[in-house]
């Protein structure tokens, strides 16, 4: 097959697939820019006849977006910080230390991966109530403060650090904690970036647990607020489309700017 024909076929397939994967988002963007149109008109509105940002302005004024964005940012930051600190601390000894009980910890960690989350959610609910953390951001974040997956990912990263580094630190009389913070942690920045990104996505997109924990809709993060908006104004498509765009754009931008790290990290996960 001549090279140019192969190029042509490859690009054709790539573009068709891109329409399939991106089409729904582009259409959402298009709906969000059509003021006062019904998406269920017949024939359905696919492309806007004129572009206006009315929907964005109206939904922004109607819903307290700054509040929801702030809620989401707080929840996401808390979640990311907890996950980075806790999974690094837990993974480091599993990679670098020899100690009794190491295999026990491993077995325990692996065994947790088979539990369905709906089951755990019931006990989480009771636990959060018992700690009096209902209706708080900590109640939203703590059940996901550390994940086994992140621990495994960080352990993988720590395994790549030569043992000499720890030895040389010891020779200089540094404490284990100092070795960890000053010598080891700077070397695993890519790994930290990966779990950080994974958790940014997870916490930003989380909608169900926040609804369960938070009684006060004013405390909802964006994704939860969006389901609320959809329930209240299911007939006002333009608004909901604009609101949805506002909620997904930040995460798509974060992804586009960090995709190199992100994709390497995802790929690294499989090497076990």
């Amino acid at each position: 097959m001549p090279r140019s024909l192969r190029y042509f076929i490859t690009y054709l397939l790539l573009i068709l697939l891109a329409l399939f994967m991106m089409g729904p988002f582009l259409w959402l963007l298009s709906v969000s820019l059509m003021p006062g149109r019904n998406v269920f008109a017949n024939p359905p509105a696919i492309l806007p006849t004129f572009i206006a940002f009315d929907n964005y302005v109206q939904v922004w004024n109607f819903m307290n977006f700054p509040r929801y964005i702030l809620n989401t940012v707080i929840i996401t930051l808390l979640g990311v910080v907890f996950n980075i600190i806790l999974s690094c601390l837990t993974a480091y000894p599993l990679a670098a230390f020899r100690f009794k009980g190491r295999n026990l910890v491993f077995t325990l960690l692996i065994s947790t991966m088979i539990i369905p989350s709906a089951t755990a959610m019931i006990v989480h609910y009771l636990t959060i109530q018992a700690f009096q953390l209902g209706n708080t951001f900590f109640g939203v974040v703590l059940p996901a403060a550390v994940s086994v997956f992140n621990i495994f990912l960080m352990r993988q990263t720590f395994l790549g650090i030569p043992a000499d580094i720890r030895d040389s630190g010891k020779m200089d009389g540094a404490s284990e904690l100092r070795i960890f913070i000053q010598l080891v942690m700077p070397l695993v920045k890519p790994g930290i970036a990966v779990i950080g990104l994974l958790e940014v996505m997870a916490f930003w997109n989380n909608f169900l647990w926040p609804i369960v924990v938070l009684d006060d809709p004013e405390k909802y993060p964006l994704a939860a607020a969006l389901t609320y908006l959809n329930g209240q104004f299911s007939y006002n498509f333009g608004w909901i489309a604009a609101g949805t765009m506002i909620s997904v754009l930040p995460i798509i931008l974060v992804f586009l700017f960090t995709q190199k790290y992100y994709m390497e990290g995802i790929a690294g996960a499989i090497k076990g």
Binding site: V39, P116, L142, A223, T244, I252
Partner: protein, 293 residues
């Protein structure tokens, strides 16, 4: 020497203590506490009593629960088929042509977007007067509008489609990593031996991707058992019980009707089934050579 070992052991546990504490409360405790909870009638309405195995006998006579198990099973059997499409996608985006990285990113965007947004978009696209019906009618593939999400016979498959659509990019990326780890000389050698493109895929690519295929199948099976968000947002199990999956049913019993005891029993039954399934897949995995520690 012994003393050194002991102090190293102490330091190790000190490092792990905060993380393990959180895991103990939010990962191990739900597993442990679920058992006694499942033997009670704990709920918000009545006094809590020990009821023995009542919840379990009730579960196996609960028509809706059995239907939810069946729906989950259908999900588990069908959704992993996604792997075939993802591998083809990965082969496609592994081509070294200008702009291919842009396409990779585009295919990944559904993965990073929230299920709330994805579900919302598809619910509109799939509406009676929606774009999907319009396009299919124009193309002559259907003769009248279909209410995709409110027809019992189609709703579950539509949800599966959305689950797969959102997951395609994730698996594609894992396979892409696998493809890029295959040494180019292997293809060269096979080509010298006269292998065509199809034989290259069947005899070089697929065998070398085997660990990735097993890993991805495992994740997609687990994901299919757990499937919740898309069902909860779009159909809440309906119409009737046609899309009721076990996670949604447990959630309804536990956190909507506050029957904590009964819901825990249901959760326990599903956990045992998932456990058995995982052991099976892990066995396969070990043969495939994925190092799962």
């Amino acid at each position: 020497m012994y003393k050194g070992f002991r102090s190293e052991s102490f330091t190790a546990w000190a490092f792990m203590a905060p993380g393990l504490l959180f895991l103990a409360v939010f990962t191990f405790w739900p597993i442990i506490y679920g058992v006694p909870l499942s033997l009670t009638n704990y709920s918000v309405i009545a006094e809590t009593n020990y009821v023995g195995l009542d919840n379990f006998t009730r579960a196996f006579q609960d028509h809706n629960f059995l239907i939810s198990l069946w729906n989950s099973l259908v999900y588990v059997l069908i959704v992993p088929v996604i792997q075939i499409i993802s591998i083809l996608m990965a082969i496609l985006v592994n081509s070294r042509i200008p702009g291919v990285k842009m396409f990779r990113a585009a295919y990944y965007i559904p993965v990073v977007t929230s299920m709330v947004a994805v579900a919302l978009i598809w619910s509109w696209l799939l509406g009676n007067n929606g774009v999907v019906n319009y396009l299919l009618l124009k193309a002559g593939m259907i003769s009248e509008q279909v209410s995709w999400l409110s027809t019992s016979s189609t709703a579950l498959y539509v949800l599966m489609f959305i689950t797969m659509w959102k997951g395609l990019g994730y698996y594609m990326m894992l396979y892409l990593a696998g493809l890029q780890g295959i040494p180019a000389d292997l293809y060269e050698a096979a080509r010298v031996d006269g292998a065509g493109p199809l034989r290259l895929i069947v005899h070089v690519t697929l065998p070398l991707l085997r660990p990735h295929i097993l890993f991805c199948t495992l994740i997609s099976v687990m994901g299919a058992i757990r499937v919740f968000d898309e069902v909860y947002i779009l159909t809440k199990g309906g119409p009737g019980t046609s899309t009721l999956t076990s996670s949604v049913y447990i959630f309804q019993k536990g956190l909507e009707q506050f029957n904590f005891g009964y819901a825990s029993a249901l959760g326990l039954i599903v956990s045992v089934m998932v456990g058995a399934l995982s052991v099976l897949v892990f066995r396969l995995n070990r043969k495939g050579g994925v190092n799962s520690y």
